[in-house]
Amino acid sequence: MIAVHPVLLIAIPLFFAFLLPLIGLFSKKVLKYVVTGTIALNTIIALLVFREALNSPIFDILGGFKPPLGIVLMVGPLGGFIALIINMAGLIISIYGMEMKKEPLVKYYMLSLLLLMGANGMVLTGDLFNLFVFLEVTSIASYGLAAYNKDLKGFEGALKYVILGSIGSTFVLIGIALIYSQLRTLNMLDIATRLNEMDPYVKIVAFTSLFLGFGVEAEMFPLNTWVPETYDGAPHSVSAMFASMSAKAGIFALARVIFTIFAFTNYLWFVVIMGVLTVFFGEIIAYAQRDIKRMLAYSSIGQMGMILMGLGIGTTMAVEGAFFQMFSHAMAKALLFIAAGYMIYATQTEKMSEMKGIGRNPLIGIPLLIGILSILGMPPFIGFYGKFYILMGGFSEGYYAIIALFLAASLVEVAYYARFIKIAFEGGGKRYPSPKATVYIPLLLFAVIIVIFGVYPKPIFEILSHVTTFLTGGV
């Protein structure tokens, strides 16, 4: 019997999201503590679930019907790991979220809880249609949050996200319809086992539809066009959530489509190419940006491309690297977005050129530096291992040219981050207001995680040793 039900990871945020309006009627001040408390509770449960999933995959049967009759949550070690990352990042970001001043606060907290819940659901569920539902939960929460600032930039970003997101989800639904029409089942493992009953052409169309649909969420190259504007227009804490929660859930869903459901190994080299294109365009366009949040958004695209590349290479080492990269990117990019939030607040501008000396306050500067170095893949921070493993995995498969291209793009990444570091640590800037506790505590927490697991990555590699089963179509 299962000791901790993974479904609680979804039910608890949902319960509290429904409860929040009622609490909001009595007191608006306690809301933020309730939210942080909820996510903290969720993180603890995620930890328990994850520990249990390490021993053997958990199948949490919902409604008491054995799959594929009912919906099942299937949590492998990797799913548990990603869920833990998402909840942990959510917890730390929610501390920064206490900063939020803009009304209607109740709705902001509800939306962010439901975004967390949707991301959790996407990671945990074992049912294809359920995955679609949670994809929609995540993206609708994202649409709402993206436009939360209610200014022109926010609306434009959200509009792009809505258009691309709903076309993407339409394709997901087409894919599901195709699969269902041939197999009459929706359970992922059931589909995976009976895949050869499908007509090959239908199979390809279904695969492509799902690949495309989740690619939108996973920020794959031609589908990630919504990213910069949406990240730019959204409130800062929300950008951090997008980068560390919904993007991670999206790419994990994509990984499951590729490996768990279709096990389409012929297609992998193409995924590598899409990944390297994503990196290439992301990093290069990031260089041409003048606004900090846009730069971070494009850089986020680049990092996601790296993960995609790791998944596409498909050797144990590269996929380990990809999962490590998901972890490190979730931590570091959330850190950078929060730092960017503070910087924009302190300097009253988004232009990087006007942020002279913003990093000279060590409470900001040191986490900022750690975050950037981690993104650049410098040891001993967590960003290093993912990048190194992906590269080594790529080499062992002989993707030399692609890796050379990737490294060239990474060099561009170094260039623009160095440009920013130079401005941020330059002398002669104005005096900026010192950060509040809600800003520097999350920054420091992220920085500590980045350093600790960077110096001692062994626990993570132990978790990632389960990648082998994942690659062969296991949970």
């Binding site: 434009e156 509009l159 792009k160 258009i163 691309l164 076309i167 993407g168 394709f171 090959p200 052409y201 390809i204 169309v205 695969f207 492509t208 690949f211 495309l212 939108v216 031609p222 589908l223 066009t225 919504w226 910069p228 504007e229 389409f264 012929n266 297609y267 193409f270 365009f281 290069i284 366009i285 260089y287 041409a288 170095l373 650049l376 410098m378 040891p379 001993p380 290093f384 190194f388 590269l391 080594m392 790529g394 080499f395 062992s396 002989g398 030399y400 890796i403 050379a404 490294l407 990474s410 060099l411 561009v412 170094v414 260039a415 160095a418 570091i421 130079k422 640590f425 062994k458 590699f461």
Partner: protein, 606 residues
């Protein structure tokens, strides 16, 4: 037992500086002193660990191999000593945020020691990057403008190295240097090419040198460590790559040219060009720091020549020269730092006559310059001599002349420093300048000693080098305490030293016997009149005639070529940016096209 010893060594040379880095950051005002302690301990601990050979395979998921042998020891000796001297120097000169300085210095020291201890690619890369970014932050502290250039080239070097590592991993599935069996020759070519180019960036080999002049213009106490100490890691890397991992037989397998591997020869040629170009550019610099930086580039070119040629004499010479360079170049940078600290000026043309006010600094710098120019009473002579002989021995008609010309050039810019900074007329503003503070002098003194000692007893250092040569299998040279021998001669330092001293004494006697009249400095040009103060120190346009001669060539600049390239790329990026049109309809069209494309690819792959 063995593993404990290894961890002990690792703890002393890597973990201790790391811990020191954190402690000194917390130490705030006392950061430098804490830094000195943590730099001193590894330096002193080198003594008991001489001639140890500790090696351990450690499994951290993948096998890594940490080793402490003579190679490690030899390079650590340079780096740790230089680091210690730099810290001493920093006591009086780093006033602004010393905690950042100390902790980053210790971090890069730890990284450097780690690189030296690692005999596998994973730990090598980790420590290499650690060293790289901490050095970047140190440069950022003082010359933020150009730190980015260093970082870019540092990362470029790291990426070259990672390409090499990756190809190595592709063939062997391991990161250990020792697991190199079964790589085909083509594989070796690419591995070595990437590794050597990657490490050559750190040695500032032309045309990958453009970061160096700017990076070497930051805080003097750091730059002396950087140029003297960290650049030696490039030497270490190339030594390891070409002779430690691949070995002579594989290098010879690429074909030979007068017994020199065809793989190494181009790099030797490149090294000679580097020596030449670095020297020529150094001659025309007016900024003291830039002059030294270009000189550093040139000197490391010599080392590159030695490593490229790969004969026992050449490699020994290269290692010896690297050792000397570590000391004399740090000493020069510290001397320059002391002068800059006292005068606040960078330009040679704005100084002059400081030798009268800063005699000890003058003395130290004089010796360093002797070493740099290869004058026999310093150890700089013998290492250069070995490299010349190595080139002449094999009758290389391009490399040897280039090196000789570079040596003459080195003399020219050395003279410029001597005259422009220390000799000549003392400028009015510098009337009241004092000698450099004691810690600075001590630091410089420490660095000068080896230059003198090893000039008489080159055999001591050749003994260490001999150990390294044996372990890499390049072959050894004949030597004894005072001299070494080669097929075309060799050198006996004792004889040279005595001869030099005799000449010196004779010259001194003649000088003293002439009973020269002491004339005031302002008196000498003006026949006893009492003039108003005029600046008569001819330091502007120092080598103008030479410069005019070279002008047609000097208008080509590698710097500018890089700038053009980067402008081209940035403009290209702006063009590529237009893909993201910010129009959702275009984006939807992309999505449709992507669907079709993915589908066709999938169809095709089916």
């Amino acid at each position: 037992m063995e593993i404990n010893l290894l961890w002990g060594v690792f703890g002393i040379f890597v973990l201790l500086p790391l811990a020191g880095s954190i402690l000194s950051y917390l130490g705030k005002k006392f950061a430098i002193y804490i830094g000195i302690i943590f730099a001193l301990i590894p330096t002193i601990m080198l003594y008991p660990f001489y001639a140890q050979n500790i090696s351990e395979l450690i499994n951290i998921g993948v096998n890594i191999n940490l080793v402490f042998d003579t190679t490690t020891w030899f390079f650590m000796l340079m780096i740790d000593t230089v680091a210690f001297a730099s810290f001493l120097f920093a006591i009086s000169c780093v006033k602004k945020k010393p905690e950042g300085f100390a902790s980053l210095m210790l971090l890069s020291l730890a990284g450097a020691n780690g690189v030296l201890m690692s005999r596998d690619f994973l730990s090598l890369y980790i420590f290499w990057e650690m060293m790289s970014w901490s050095a970047y932050l140190l440069i950022l502290r003082s010359s933020g403008e150009y730190a980015r250039r260093y970082l870019l080239f540092g990362i470029l070097s790291a990426y070259f190295i990672i390409m090499g590592i990756g190809i190595f991993y592709y063939y062997t599935g391991s990161f250990l240097f020792s697991d190199s069996a079964g790589i085909p020759l083509m594989g070796w070519f690419w591995i070595l090419f990437f590794l050597v180019v990657g490490f050559a960036v750190k040695m500032a080999v032309v045309p990958l040198h453009v970061w160096a002049p700017y990076a070497y213009s930051s805080e003097p106490s750091f730059v002396s460590f950087f140029s003297g100490g960290l650049s030696k890691l490039g030497t270490f890397g190339i030594l390891m790559g070409m002779y430690g991992i691949a070995g002579l037989s594989i290098l010879q397998g690429f074909g030979t040219f007068r017994d020199v591997s065809l793989f190494g020869y181009p790099f030797a040629l490149l090294g000679a060009f580097t020596a030449f170009i670095g020297t020529i550019l150094a001659i025309f610099q007016d900024d003291l720091r830039k002059l030294l930086a270009y000189s550093s580039i040139g000197q490391l070119g010599y080392v590159m020549v030695g490593l490229g040629l790969g004969t026992p004499l050449a490699v020994s010479g290269a290692l010896f020269h690297a050792f000397n360079h570590a000391f004399f170049k740090s000493l020069l940078f510290l001397g320059a730092g002391a002068v800059i600290y006292r005068t606040g000026k960078y330009k040679i043309s704005e100084m002059g006559g400081l030798g009268y006010r800063m005699p000890f600094t003058f003395l130290f710098v004089l010796f360093a310059i002797f070493a740099l120019a290869g004058i026999p009473i310093t150890s700089g002579f013998i290492s250069k001599w070995m490299l010349y002989e190595a080139a002449i021995e094999k009758k290389f008609v391009i490399i040897a002349p280039l090196m000789l010309i570079a040596s003459v050039g080195a003399f020219l810019y050395s003279f410029r420093i001597l005259y422009g900074v220390f000799l000549g007329q003392l400028d009015k503003p510098y009337e009241n300048i004092k000698e450099a503070p004691l810690p600075m002098l001590v630091a410089m003194g420490i660095l000068m000693l080896p230059l003198l000692i090893f000039s008489i007893f080159p055999g001591w250092i050749l003994e260490w080098i001999d150990d390294i040569m044996k372990s890499t299998g390049v072959g050894t040279i004949d030597y004894n305490t005072y001299s070494y021998y080669s097929s075309i001669g060799g050198a006996n330092m004792l004889v040279l030293w005595i001869a030099f001293m005799l000449v010196f004494i004779v010259a001194m006697l003649i000088f003293l016997m002439k009973k020269a009249r002491k004339v005031d400095q302002y008196d000498n040009y003006l026949a006893g009149e009492s003039p108003p103060y005029v600046q008569l120190h001819a330091a502007h346009n120092f080598y103008k005639p030479l410069r005019d001669t070279w002008a047609p060539l000097l208008k080509y600049s590698i710097d500018r070529a890089y700038e053009k390239l980067s402008r081209f790329f940035v403009e290209g990026f702006e063009e590529i940016k237009k893909i993201y049109t910010e129009n959702p309809q275009d984006y939807a069209a992309y999505l449709g096209i992507a669907f079709l494309l993915f589908l066709f690819i999938g169809w095709w792959l089916l």
